[in-house]
Amino acid sequence: MNPVLRICALRVEAPNAQVLVDNVDITLAQGEVLGLIGESGAGKSTIGLAALGYARGRCRITGGEVWLAGENILGATPKRQRALRATKVAYVAQSAAAAFNPALTIGEQVCEGPVRHGLMGRDEARTWARELFASLDLPDPDTFGRRYPHQVSGGQLQRAMVAMAMSCKPEILVLDEPTTALDVTTQIEVLVVLRRIVREFGAAALYITHDLAVVAQVADRIMVLRGGRMVEEGSTDAVLNAPRDDYTRRLVAERSAADTLRASPAHAAEPLLSIEGLNAGYHGKAIVRNIALQLARGETLALVGESGSGKSTVARAIVGLIEQQSGTLRFDGKPLPHRLTERSRELKRRIQLVYQSPDVALNPMHSVGEIIGRPVEFYFGIHKDKIRERVLELLCLTELPETLIDQKPAELSGGQKQRVCIARALAAQPDLMICDEVTSALDPLVADGILSLLESLQKRIGLSYLFITHDLGTVRRIAQRVAVMLRGEIIAQGATADVFNAPSHAYIKRLLSSVPELRIGWLDENLLQSERPAESNTLTGELKYAAQQ
């Protein structure tokens, strides 16, 4: 059978002549889903866009061919390229909020494609849009199109984007991280709907993501990319269960580790941090209510919740940054003043905060040495010559090369920057380190490295961590105890094994069941078990056009 998409020897370069995609070949059969896996910078999005004959910004496609519908879109005239886009191959972006025009209604933008390409009349397009909305489980499909993008939720907008892509009934869909920007529980809903639509339409798809477990649920084949090159390719089963390449093996190992508990069980110790009845908020509005936490020395307590649950607020309350807070805070047996200004320098030193995004957590005008050296100088008043020695020690402790000491943050990689942030926190020799989503912005393998570092530091120095995250895999990996937050309150707290294996609250059950496991068929099992609506066949016969091409 003829492949619907054939990419040969694709080569894409950045404006500074850096090679983004190097000699990549892809073949896609009708109705087949190919997962493109890789870390950031691997070139997956670039390949996805190249399938439409497009390169972002000033990047250029300098080599190769992209064959679809019997034509090489790279060699076609601009007019022909435009004709092929959306009609033969459509793109679904990562962020729906950015992809939709705020000045036009959703319906206008969904119907625009088929009408402008001459495929349908206005009314026909509107009817078709309504059917798409219904099959994507969007509320009030008849009137949904009249709303503006800012009037609907993130998950709904993402599905609307899928509708927009399907509006011209393309043979090929390029899905660029379609669920990455969403909350875990929303992700799963969109994933279900996506898979259903792709199957019903018989469309071929390139599914781009960095999450192996997600791709395991939707893809027939997987291609692993690294540095713009193909590393491995094969059926989903083969790649996940019998990976040939070392890089692939590491990716698989890291992801499957997230499914199993690894943190060593907690040992009883006196509490280092104890919180009772904490209420905190801004401008008279309470964001978190009645928080009670206990953290023992040398232990890691994870604080888990989705966006808006208030976990960051708890962290900020502990360091004293919230204007209005009440309740009891005790640190090392003594009361902890609520406000930062009321705390002694010693107290400030003993509790350190590490941020999520190292790009904004490090002053771009300071060198690494200055950044790490400042706390040393500030807290311990050490003489200038000794500071450099100490900084080198800290670099060594965080597994960073000594040469970094005079470099500026812009010259470092994401993982290195985060280690510098950790080194800066360590320079104060704290008792408690609050890690606020410190691995969320990093690639899986890099994040794994950071987590290993944190674990080893805990074993060597006896650091205690309050680890804030939304990722359950990380919790299993690193936390002995966990507290789950929902809408400003803690709904469960205890040893990780207890909380996860015997969930006490419906939300926790839902949370746990929303995170895909690295197992083909997990999604189907999950749908059968849970209360989620099963894949319904709301499409009429007319819409299944798979066989006619």
Partner: protein, 315 residues
């Protein structure tokens, strides 16, 4: 949205009131005795006292302000110190002249600069764009009097096409008036249009670089459609902002231009009054210009709210 509009209008009124206070403070309450400053050489204790009494400077400041504002709102703009006539008598005909000049310039400048600005953004880096950028940069850097005198030299002296003195009288025919004011309008146009062009171009470029523009490209839509249906509706708010923000230049520029071409407008009047220390006239002219400025800004704020799709269709 109505609530936001009302807010903006109220803010405008409040600002105007604050400005009146500012003007009053700026002219009547500053250190240095106003009366002796006005009398200059001929200041003797008696004459100063007499002037102070006649100007009502003995009364408490708040009372003077209240009276002044009250009179102003009733159209009584005080009496000129230089010729003893009521200020409104001299001001009104000149007001018409200035408005004519400003309106003439604005009517040409706004469509011209917006269209060229949009075109420049669409064909970025083309010859057209580069030429427009160079010209507009030069224009905003040149003082109005430079442009004015160059145009005067070229179009009124070397090749006498237009009159050098913009002499207008109340009983002129409309077309005659247009002819007489073309040169000053052209001068005004240069600087104001250039500012508007640059800001418009920057706004449209910003909109064209957004993610939804890329989505439209990936949908295979033609460029003209993308510009008209996707980019412009979003560029509307920043363009409106740019235009009204820069129309403020018109207010300032008109003063310069009136002096260059000896045009009998409010600007010319104000400058003369300043050099002669004719305070009532200065106050009246100042209030007039300030009202125009605040009014323009308020209208621009309101239009910006209307043009913003997120504010027009709230959640």
């Amino acid at each position: 949205m109505k609530r936001l509009v009302l807010q903006r209008v109220l803010a405008g009124v409040l600002t105007l009131w604050l400005v009146s206070v500012l003007i009053f403070v700026g002219t009547e309450l500053l250190p240095g005795d106003v009366a002796s400053a006005i009398l200059g050489q001929s200041a003797t204790p008696e004459t100063v006292a007499a002037l102070r009494a006649s100007l009502g400077l003995d009364h408490p400041a708040l009372q003077r302000y209240g009276l002044w504002l009250l009179h102003f709102l009733h159209g009584d703009l005080g009496t000129s110190l230089t010729n003893g006539r009521p200020v409104s008598e001299d001001l009104l005909p000149r007001l018409y002249n200035t408005l004519f000049l400003a309106g003439y310039a604005a009517l040409v400048a706004v469509p011209l600069s917006v269209l060229v600005g949009i075109a420049s953004a669409i064909w970025q880096d083309s010859l057209f764009d580069r030429a427009a950028s160079v010209l507009s940069l030069a224009s905003v850097s040149m003082p109005e009097f430079f442009v004015g005198y160059v145009l005067l030299l070229l179009l009124a002296v070397k090749f006498p096409v237009l009159p050098s003195l913009a002499a207008v009288s109340p009983d002129m025919a409309f077309s005659e008036r247009l002819y007489a004011t073309t040169l000053p309008t052209l001068t005004l146009l240069f600087v104001v249009a250039a500012h508007m062009l640059r800001t418009t171009r920057a706004s449209v470029l910003a909109v064209m670089g957004s993610a939804y523009t890329e989505t439209a490209i990936l949908k295979g839509l033609p460029k003209s459609w993308i510009v008209v249906r996707h980019a412009l509706p979003n560029a509307l708010a920043p363009i409106i902002n740019a235009v009204s923000f820069n129309l403020a230049y018109l207010i300032v520029g008109v003063i310069m231009v009136e002096v260059v071409f000896v045009y009998p407008g409010v600007g010319q009047l104000m400058v003369d009054a300043v050099s002669k220390r004719d305070l009532p006239v200065v106050q009246a002219c100042g209030m007039l210009f300030a009202t125009a400025y605040v009014g323009l800004n308020t209208v621009s704020d309101v239009l910006a709210v209307w043009a913003n799709p997120r504010l027009r269709h709230a959640r």
